[in-house]
């Protein structure tokens, strides 16, 4: 075991891990955050706390992670390269670990163009792979990126993202290999709607034995409505929502669409569970945290193991 | 202002519009004397600076007359001229000169009637617009 992370313990014990996410509020509303987090209590092994997701300003992922931790859940602290340089990142990582946050996810971050501050400078002092390397060196070598010794190194369980659906496809397995070489302990993937394409990517992953070097958590998202499915299909860069999914959402009346979205999600999880090399499921129920329990129940992911 | 006679500069391409002007002359088609023709080897030869200078010197209107689309003697001079005219129109607005005072027109060498008609229409349009603000300012 590299860390004290509960997620690592679950994975190391060979259980199928379950994570979900909780977006911090757009204002000083800790109560709202707590309310959302409560839906996930005892349902998942770790809760991703997004970092100014879609480049919209929100309560910091560090503060929100701490609030969630106080509620007894296990936050998965997300850090993007968009908003912080390496000094700020390392400071926050030390801060996070000092507050008992031991699991994190290293991301490039959505471009500011998509958010409510398109006029802001994108930082990108280092990229996500370099961040992974930095966090690994902080943990394993006890040094800062600049080389100096850290007095009390943060022992982070290091996560990274992978998008099997972005282009160029042939490079996607190689990019995963680079993340693992840099020090990624686990991977959470982009939402999977196109299972055959994900299977193809996993084939490449297994060929290179990458699933043995790092835990892969397959990402899923329940569609709330036909509109949401269409939006993801057409408007979100790097998302692959096949026509069958959109058609299936369209085939049921509006009031039944949410239920259909959950059913599709559950069916997807069932398929993903059978794929060799998948170590866990990451459920991204965006502003729909109350549905995670139902999804987990129906997909046979409950109760969560005690480790 | 009731005696306002606009001064209009027409940059006419040698191969089409200028020949069309000749044709209008030989067919004895009348067109307003307000139009001062400047012959150019191709409408694409007309630079933004030529157009702007014409306004600076007090022209009330300017038009660039090139060959019909696809018929430029130099392949694409007329389409380039069209883009340049659009660009200068924006610049005129920035300066504070109505962009309607500048136009791009096309015609073939045989279109004497079209030449006379265009000259008349543009003269009437500029007459309605009144003197260019630059001419007015120069007069003060």
């Amino acid at each position: 075991m590299k860390t004290e992370s509960r997620l690592e313990k679950v994975l190391a014990a060979g259980h199928l891990a379950v994570t979900s996410e909780c977006g911090p509020p757009r204002g000083c509303q800790p109560a709202h955050l707590i309310e959302k987090a409560k839906y996930l209590d005892g349902i998942v092994d770790a809760v991703n706390v997004t970092d100014n997701q879609t480049a919209m300003v929100r309560m910091s992922s560090l503060a929100a992670s701490f609030i969630i931790k106080q509620q007894g859940l296990n936050p998965l602290f997300q850090v993007t390269c968009r908003d912080r340089n390496r000094l700020a990142m390392q400071a926050d990582i030390i801060g996070a670990y000092s507050m008992g946050i031991d699991t994190m996810l290293c991301l490039s971050g959505d471009h500011t163009k998509f958010g409510d501050h398109p006029m802001a400078m994108n930082v990108h002092d280092i990229d996500s792979i370099q961040m992974i390397q930095m966090v690994k060196d902080m943990r394993d070598k006890g040094i800062f990126q600049g080389g100096a010794e850290i007095k009390g190194a943060p022992k982070m369980f290091i996560g990274a993202a992978a998008n099997p659906f972005a282009d160029p496809f042939e490079l996607r397995v190689m990019r995963l290999a680079k993340k693992i070489a840099a020090g990624a302990d686990f991977i959470q993937t982009q939402c999977i709607f196109n299972v055959p394409k994900f299977e193809k990517w996993m084939e490449g992953v297994r060929e290179k034995g990458l699933h043995k070097k790092c835990y892969i958590l397959a990402g899923v998202t329940p569609c709330k409505s036909l509109g949401a499915a269409k939006y993801m299909a057409n408007r979100v860069p790097g998302m692959d929502v096949p026509k069958e999914i959109v058609d299936r959402m369209a085939s049921v009346p509006k009031e039944k669409q949410a239920e259909e979205g959950v059913t599709i999600c559950v069916e997807t999880i069932e398929k993903l569970k059978k794929i060799e090399g998948v170590s866990g499921i990451h459920i991204m129920a965006i502003e729909w945290e109350e549905k995670v329990q139902e999804i987990c129940e129906r997909a046979g992911l409950l109760p969560r193991p005690q480790v | 202002m009731e005696n306002f006679e606009p001064v209009i500069v027409a940059f006419c391409c040698h191969y089409c519009a200028y020949t069309a002007a000749d044709m209008a002359g030989s067919q004895r088609l009348p067109y307003p004397a307000n139009v001062k023709i400047i012959r150019v080897p191709c409408s694409g030869k007309v630079d933004a600076l030529h157009i702007v200078k014409a306004f600076e010197k007090g022209a009330d209107g300017v038009y660039v007359a090139g060959c019909l689309e696809g018929d430029c003697h130099f392949k694409s001079g007329n389409t380039r001229a069209g883009r340049r005219v659009a660009y200068v129109k924006k610049y005129l607005e920035e300066i504070g000169i109505e962009s309607e005072r500048l136009e791009m027109v096309t015609m073939s060498a045989g279109m004497g009637y079209r030449f006379a008609q265009t000259a008349t229409e543009i003269t009437e349009k500029i007459r309605k617009l009144g003197p260019s603000p630059i001419k007015t300012a120069l007069a003060l």
């Binding site: 971050g109 990108h124 996500s128 390397q133 490079l171 990019r175 982009q190 860069p237 | 504070g96």
Partner: protein
């Protein structure tokens, strides 16, 4: 080349309003090539400014001149006899030219007439695109001759983000994904192994991280 675009006339008029006589200066280098501040653009701007001022009921005497290079003191020196009577200078050169003038002529206000944009190349007639950010430590040798710092919206040094779709960047269909271009090049060159190597965190000091940069060539410097 260093690319630039003319500022809106309105902003330029605000600068020169207080003056009766100005010198408008072009540059024969980069800004001529990108049609922003060469001899022709000086003529166009002088004419436009003159008309706009005239319309506002004021007169301004604009002398025009274009230097071979505004960023070299030797050429700037040529201006000395021309400055007689000029109350201010407006420069159509890039920011380097403007500052060279400001340093040399300490008693004259110098105004920029263009917005300096980026180091770029011509894609085709009338289209210039960013190619270099002057990071001071070129890594084109590792990236198939295509720069991820200047051409990836996130400056990613180790591959494309999850937003790369059909060869274009997530920010716009008009923008190529730099890493798609790099990957295509590496494949064509049989150098795909180069991609597998992790490029470590960049030292930004040569790229301006340690303050304003300077090059001193001992053999040339006087």
């Amino acid at each position: 080349m260093i690319t630039a675009e003319r500022k809106p006339l309105e902003e330029l008029i605000e600068y020169i309003k207080p003056f009766k006589r100005i010198l408008l200066l072009g540059c024969n280098e980069c800004v001529t090539v990108c049609a922003a501040g060469g001899r022709k653009e000086v003529g166009l701007l002088a004419s436009g400014l003159q008309m706009a001022m005239l319309k506002n009921g004021s007169n301004i005497d604009i002398r025009q001149h274009t230097l071979e290079r505004q960023c070299d003191p030797e050429y700037v020196e040529e201006l000395v006899p021309m400055l007689d009577g000029a109350e201010a200078i407006m420069s159509m050169a890039c920011g380097c030219g403007v500052q060279q003038l400001a340093m040399r002529f300490k008693d004259k206000p110098v105004f920029p007439a263009v917005n300096t944009k980026f180091m770029g190349a011509s894609e085709r007639q009338g289209v210039w695109a960013e190619r270099c950010q002057g990071c001071g430590n070129c890594l084109l040798g590792m990236t198939g001759g295509i720069c991820p710092i200047a051409r990836c919206a996130k400056q990613l040094m180790n591959g494309p983000c999850g937003g790369s779709t059909g060869g274009h960047c997530e920010i716009s269909e008009e923008v190529d994904c730099a890493w798609q271009l790099i990957w295509d090049r590496l494949k064509a060159l049989g150098q795909t192994d180069m991609y597998l190597e992790n490029i470590p965190a960049k030292d930004w000091r040569p790229g301006g991280g340690s303050g304003p940069r300077k090059i001193i060539r001992e053999d040339l410097a006087e």
